[in-house]
């Protein structure tokens, strides 16, 4: 199902994030940071905005813990981060991908979790150890949804 893209990685950060820990069963897609974006879709996957909305609204992405979004059926939206409404006209898909995959490259002190990372974390709760918060397909789904927020 996954397609490994063997790309040359110029940025040290990208390299660190992309080196597989367990060859063969790596849950993390290889990606390349170019400027302020990860231009290519993870594993070359297409995102689905309907699935993406469910991830943003639900516990899986838990984005509403920190962001307001036009998801009225969910009662409590946090405000640690900026509202997501209109993000689709403010940000490109590549910029959103970098924001979700490696937010600390944008802001080293961010509270926003890296949704597609397993390396360099401490004391991860057992059931979540070794798996990212969102799989490559889910990242692409979320991006597809965010791009509809114009």
């Amino acid at each position: 199902m996954r397609m490994i893209l063997a790309v040359w990685l110029p940025a040290a950060v990208a390299l660190a994030a992309a080196v597989p820990s367990t060859a063969g069963s790596d849950p993390i897609a290889i990606y390349q940071i170019v400027g302020d974006a990860i231009p290519a879709p993870l594993d070359d996957l297409d995102g689905d905005p309907v699935r993406g909305r469910a991830i943003v609204a639900g516990r899986k992405g838990n984005c509403l813990a920190c962001h307001e979004a036009p998801i009225p059926e969910e009662p409590f939206h946090g405000n640690l981060g900026p509202p997501l409404d209109g993000i689709g006209s403010r940000a490109s898909s590549g910029a959103l991908r970098l924001r979700l995959v490696a937010p600390r490259t944008l802001n080293p002190d961010t509270v926003m979790p890296a949704f597609h990372q397993v390396e360099g974390l401490r004391r991860v709760l057992a059931p979540h150890r070794g798996s990212p918060i969102l799989a490559a397909q889910e990242i692409e789904d979320v991006i597809a949804y965010l791009l509809t927020l114009r």
């Binding site: 813990a65 939206h77 946090g78 979790p113 974390l121 401490r122 991860v124 979540h128």
Partner: protein, 275 residues
Amino acid sequence: MAGNGTNAVRPRLKRLRWLGPAMMGAVVGWPGWVGSEPPELPPFSPRSGYEFARPETRAIQDDEFANPGLFWIERGAELWRSPAGPGERSCHSCHGAATAMAGTAATYPKIDEVVARLVNLEQRINLCRTRHVGAEPYPLESDPLLSLSAYVTRQSAGEPLRVRIDGRAREWFERGRELYRERVGQMNVACTQCHDQRVGHLLRAERISQGQINGFPAYLLRWGTVSSVHRRFQFCNEQARAEPLPIGSDDYNALQLYVAWRGTGLVVEAPAVRR
């Protein structure tokens, strides 16, 4: 009783500030600190979780009849006089009326000179159980232990927190500060990112407070029971999908010392009610 959420009259410790290199070597800056270099001060004056709680929650705490934490305090009062061990001794046999414990809880965690380590109030009570009563220690987080702890803490209601971080406590303090700043869990967040940097923001429906512990052991509405500081720490860890540390562990004690210190001057609320 004083200090039970009565915000209007809350004595504050007058906090002297670090006055710069001119005062190096003089008596400096922060209660409980004696040394040559001042620890970094928290970037705010401390505010109780009470101030961030919803009005409904505050109302429960303020109502001496509705506050469920009072059941634990009543049980604690009974246990204070219950004889145990081979000598049939109660806390009262040695300490007399519990009012003898006025101010004590505000100084914990503290170094116990016999075991030469930092202990919190629950562990200190258990030391009396084993050392002086000759009985089995109460399991951590058990009802009797929390009841006694809440009862002893009640004797300090209205007293300002004032832990010592000098001498042997110093290295525990440093460790606690380190833990407070360490990012952990799948969410990769540190205590300081929420409780120093995002105070007042909403995380879902919860307004982030300074994460102070002047109300602990506190009655938590979400669990319907009194909870120790360490269990509350565990919950914040689990929310970040981080492995919690054991209740009573050295690391949580170190963290508790640091958190108590950054709340120096906040008055003890006993029993506090939180969501």
